[in-house]
Amino acid sequence: MCRLFALTSSEPVSPMRAVRALDVMREGHDGSGVGLFLTGLGGPFGELKGCPILSGILTRDGEKRLNRFMNDKGFKLRHRLAWDLPATPPEGTPRRDAYLVAAYDLPSDWRDMTDAERDLNILRTRLELKHMGLEREDMTVFSFWPDVVMVKEIGDPLAVGQYLGVDREDLHARQILAQGRQNTNYAINLYACHPFFIQGIASMTNGENTAFIPIKEWLMSSGVPGYEGYHSDSEVFTHILHYATLRLGLPLAAYKHVITPLSDADMQGHPDAAFLEQLKATCRKLIIDGPNCVIGCLPDRTMFMVQDRKKLRPGVVGGRPGLYAFSSEICGLDAAIPERDKTRDFQPMHLDTAIVGPGCEEIEICRQTQPLPQAR
C-alpha cells in the first residue's frame, strides 16, 4: 500500500522534508516511484502570480513540439527551472531528456476573459499537451496551473528527491503532497502516479477503490473537461473533489458525504438530513467503497484527510501552529515534526474530515454527524 505524506506550513519548506518522511515509512512503498505536488510556492515562482506553471517530463522532440505549441498559442515563457542533474540517475530511474517546470505569461487575447473562462482554457491547454504527448510518447504533462508544481518520477523517493535536487529554494512550498508508490500495476505509468491534479485541486490516495468502474464511467460521461485518463483508480478521488467543490459548490466538509455518505440510520435526526439524502441519491455513483485514505489540497491551499467508511487504512494529522503534517503513519509524522505535542495528534476515523486551513493555525475536525457549513 502506498505511503502518503503531506505538509502545510505558514512559511515555504523544502519538499525534502516530506520525502524524508516517506523514506521513514519505506516499508510501505517499493521504491517504484514518487510524486510531489507543491503549491504556495516560495522563490521566483511564488512571485509570478497568475502565471500558469507547466510541470512534466519531455523528450528532445517533445520539447521542440511543446515550444512550438506554446508559441503558437501565444504563451510567453517567464521563468524556467534549471536542472543540474548528476550524470547517473539512481537505480531504477530512467534517464530523461528534460524535466520541465516552467511558468508562462498568458496569451494577450486571454486578458478579457472571465476567471472561469481563463481557468477552463488553461485546463484545456494541459489536456491538449497531454494528448499530444500520449500520441508520440514524447511529453508527459502533470499540471499546468498558477502556483502549482508537480514532480513525478520512477524510483526510490529519497534517491529521486536527491537526484532531482528538490531541496532547492525554487521548489520550497507551503503546501506539499508527497506519495511513495507501492506499484500494483504491471508497468509503471507516470500518469498512474499520485498526486493527481485538476484546476488547482490535488489529492492522493492509498488503497484500492473497489467502486472504480461505475465511478469512472459516470465521471467520463458527465461531460466535464478533464474527467479522463484514469490510469489509476485513485484519480477519481481528485475528480470527485473537483466536482463536489467546484461544480456543485459544496463546502469541503460535504466531500465525505459524497464519497462515503452516512447510513440511513445515522442520517435520521441529522440537522441537514433532507439535503444529505438528496446528495446521497444524486451522487450515488460517486460513492467509493474501498479501503482508502485520501489527502487533498484545495485551490485556497486548505489541506485535509478523510478515511473510507470502513476505516481500513491508517492516517494521522499532527503538528504545531504554523506547521502541520498529514501522514500515513505516525513514524512519518515523527520524522517531519518531532517537536510537536504528540498528545494533540489526531487519527481521523470513518466519519471525520481533518482540515488544516491555509493559515495553518489548527486542525479542524468535521464529523459527518455534525451540521454542514452553509454551501455557497
Binding site: M1, T184, T210, A211, P214, D264, K285, D289
Partner: protein, 544 residues
C-alpha cells in the same frame, strides 16, 4: 389401451408421452387418493383381468386356465389427459406406490397437442435449463491489495432507488429552490414482480403480501411487490400496506376502477406505478386470464362478468405512438397521485429496448425502466410464445446500461431486470450478476412460486397448468378446494425465509468484492465468464 381400440393417427402409447406413471401393485393400498388428486385426470382406476395357465404334471390331469381380476391405476394416453409430471399422486400416496417418471424417449405429445386446430396453451416458462447468468462468476476478489470484508459482521447497505434521480447540479439547485423533485423510493433490490390477483389464488397473493409486510415492518427490509394486472383488493388499497405495493396498469386496465374509486380514501401512496407494455415470457402478447379462473371474487375486483376469458390487448389501445404511450401515460399516472409516486414502464426485452430507453431518458417523469427477459414466466400463453419469442435479459440490460453511461444518465434512470433470475435456484448469484451488469433492481416471479409456495413447475415442462385453474398446489387456482391446500401464513414465512437467505448470500458475494456501502450497480470489472463471445457481448472479462 383396450385391446380392441382402433389405432388412429393421434393414438399415442405411454412411451410417446413425456411422463409415465410408475405404479407398484404390491405397495398400492387402493385408497384412490392419487386418482382424486390428479389435476389433469391422467390416471383412472384400472380393472385388470388376468389369465394364468396352470400346467399340470403327469399324464392324467389336464392343464387349466385360472382367471383373476385385480385393481390398480391406468394411465390415459389421450393427449388431452397426458400426465404433466406434477407428482401430486406421489405426494398423497400412503404407500409410495406411485410416481411420475420422465420418458427417456423424445415425447410425441408436442406434435399432437393441437386437437381441433388449437395450438397448445399453458402456463409456466421457456423450459430451457440453460442460463447465461449461471455462467457468470465474480472474479475480482479483494485479496491483500484491499481487504475482503466480513459478510457476517460488517454493515451493508443493500438498498436501491426506484424513481427518477436528477443529475447532481440540477438536483441541488432544485433542492435549494424547493422546486419539484421527482419522487424516489428507497427499496430492497429484489422485487416480487407483477403477478395478478387472479393469476394467483387469494391465498397465494395474501401470503406474498403478508410476507412483504412482515419484512418491512418487523425486519425493516424495504421489500416491494407488484400487483400485476388485476387490480388490488379494496381493503389493501385503503390500508397502510399499500406503500409496499407497486400497482400495475396494463392494456386491459383490469382493476383500475377499484383503484380510482379508492384514491380519495388511500391512507398511503403506493410505492410506484408500473405501466406494463409487455412481459418477457410472451412478448407482444397482452395478459391473459382464462375463463376457468374468473370467479365471482376475481370478476368483482376486475369489474368484469364471471366466467369469461380476459385477454388484454397486446398494446394500449388508446395510444398510437411511443410518445403517447410512454409520455402521456406516465404523465396521467403521475397526476393521479399528485406527482408523488414514481411511474415507470415495463417492457419485454427486445432489440428495440434502446429506442424506448432513449425516449424515457428525455422524460423527467419517467421513473425507470423494467425489462423482462425471455426466461420470465407467465400464467397463460401460447406454447410457441413462451418457447420461441423474446430476448435474453443479460445483453439487453447491458446494452441499456451502457447506453445510459454514454448519455451520462446511468444514475438517473434505474433499470429493473427480470426474467430467469434464479431459474436453476441460484437467486443471489443471478441477481448480483445482473446488478453488476447495470440493473438497479431485479424482479422475480417464478422463483417465488417455487420457493415460497412449492410450485412444482420446472425447466423441464413439468406441470405448467397455471392457465386452467387446476394448480395442484393451489397457487394459481381460483377453486377454493384447491387453494385451501395453501396456507397463506406458511407462504408468508417462506417469503421471509427466501429474503433473509438472499440477503445473506448477497453479502457473501459482495463482501469478498470489498463492496458494502452501496449496491455495486454496473461493477462489471467484477464479472467474468468462460465464453469469449458472451464476454465480448457483455463487455466483461473472459476467464478460463
Amino acid at each position: 389401451m383396450p385391446s380392441n381400440a382402433a389405432i388412429a393417427p393421434g393414438t399415442l402409447s405411454h412411451v410417446d408421452l413425456p411422463w409415465q406413471i410408475d405404479w407398484t401393485k404390491d405397495k398400492c393400498t387402493l385408497c384412490g387418493q392419487c386418482v382424486a388428486v390428479c389435476p389433469v385426470r391422467a390416471i383412472e382406476l384400472g380393472v385388470f383381468r388376468k389369465r394364468e395357465i396352470k400346467a399340470a404334471f403327469g399324464l392324467t390331469t389336464t392343464s387349466e386356465n385360472q382367471y383373476s381380476v385385480h385393481y390398480g391405476i391406468r394411465q390415459k394416453t389421450d393427449p388431452a389427459f397426458a400426465c404433466i409430471g406434477c407428482g401430486m399422486c406421489d405426494m398423497v400416496c400412503p404407500g409410495d406406490a406411485i410416481t411420475p417418471r420422465r420418458s427417456d424417449e423424445q415425447p410425441k405429445l408436442k406434435m399432437h397437442a393441437n386437437k381441433g386446430g388449437a395450438p397448445r396453451t399453458r402456463g409456466g416458462r421457456r423450459n430451457d435449463k440453460g442460463s447465461l447468468l449461471d455462467q457468470i462468476k465474480f472474479v475480482r476478489i479483494s485479496m491483500l491489495t484491499d481487504p475482503a470484508l466480513d459478510a457476517g459482521r460488517h454493515e451493508f447497505d443493500l438498498t436501491t432507488m426506484i424513481g427518477r434521480i436528477l443529475p447532481p447540479e440540477k438536483a441541488l439547485a432544485t433542492f435549494r429552490e424547493q422546486g419539484w423533485m421527482p419522487p424516489v423510493r428507497k427499496i430492497y433490490p429484489l422485487l416480487i414482480g407483477g403477478m395478478s390477483f387472479g393469476a394467483l389464488s387469494p391465498n397465494m397473493w395474501e401470503g406474498l403480501q403478508m410476507g412483504v409486510a412482515y419484512l418491512n415492518e418487523e425486519l425493516h427490509m424495504p421489500v416491494r411487490m407488484c400487483t400485476g394486472e388485476g387490480g388490488c383488493p379494496p381493503r389493501l388499497l385503503r390500508s397502510r400496506f399499500l406503500k409496499y405495493v407497486i400497482l400495475q396498469i396494463a392494456s386491459g386496465y383490469f382493476g383500475w376502477d377499484e383503484i380510482i374509486h379508492a384514491l380519495p380514501e388511500m391512507k398511503e401512496d403506493p410505492c410506484a406505478v408500473e405501466i406494463k407494455y409487455g412481459q418477457g415470457a410472451k412478448p407482444g402478447d397482452g395478459g391473459l386470464l382464462m375463463w376457468h379462473k374468473v370467479n365471482k371474487l376475481i370478476a368483482a375486483i376486475r369489474g368484469v362478468p364471471v366466467g369469461v376469458s380476459l385477454p388484454s390487448p397486446p398494446t394500449h389501445q388508446t395510444k398510437y405512438s411511443i410518445e403517447e404511450a410512454v409520455a402521456k401515460m406516465i404523465q396521467s399516472m403521475s397526476m393521479a397521485w399528485g406527482f408523488r409516486v414514481p411511474v415507470y414502464p415495463k417492457i419485454s426485452a427486445t432489440t428495440t429496448s434502446l429506442a424506448v430507453l432513449n425516449n424515457l431518458a428525455r422524460n423527467t417523469y419517467a421513473a425507470g425502466l423494467a425489462i423482462d427477459g425471455e426466461d420470465g414466466g407467465t400464467g397463460a400463453a401460447y406454447n410457441v410464445s413462451m418457447d420461441h419469442m423474446g430476448h435474453p435479459i443479460a445483453s439487453n440490460l447491458r446494452d441499456c446500461y451502457l447506453n445510459l453511461c454514454r448519455i451520462g444518465a446511468q444514475n438517473e434512470l434505474p433499470l429493473i431486470a427480470g426474467g430467469g433470475i434464479g431459474k436453476n435456484g441460484n437467486l443471489a448469484a443471478n441477481a448480483a450478476a445482473l446488478i453488476m451488469l447495470g440493473a438497479s433492481a431485479v424482479q422475480i416471479g417464478k422463483y417465488m412460486m417455487q420457493a415460497a409456495a412449492g410450485c412444482v413447475g420446472s425447466e423441464g415442462d413439468r406441470c405448467n397448468v397455471c392457465n386452467i385453474g387446476v394448480c395442484p398446489k393451489g397457487i394459481t387456482s381460483q377453486d377454493p378446494r384447491l387453494y385451501r391446500r395453501l396456507d397463506p401464513e406458511k407462504v408468508a414465512e417462506r417469503v421471509v425465509d427466501v429474503y433473509l437467505a438472499f440477503d445473506s448470500e448477497m453479502k457473501k458475494i459482495l463482501a469478498p468484492l470489498g463492496r458494502s456501502t452501496s449496491l455495486p450497480i454496473g461493477m462489471s470489472d467484477a464479472l467474468g465468464i468462460g465464453d469469449k463471445d458472451a464476454a465480448d457481448r457483455l463487455s466483461i472479462r473472459y476467464c478460463v
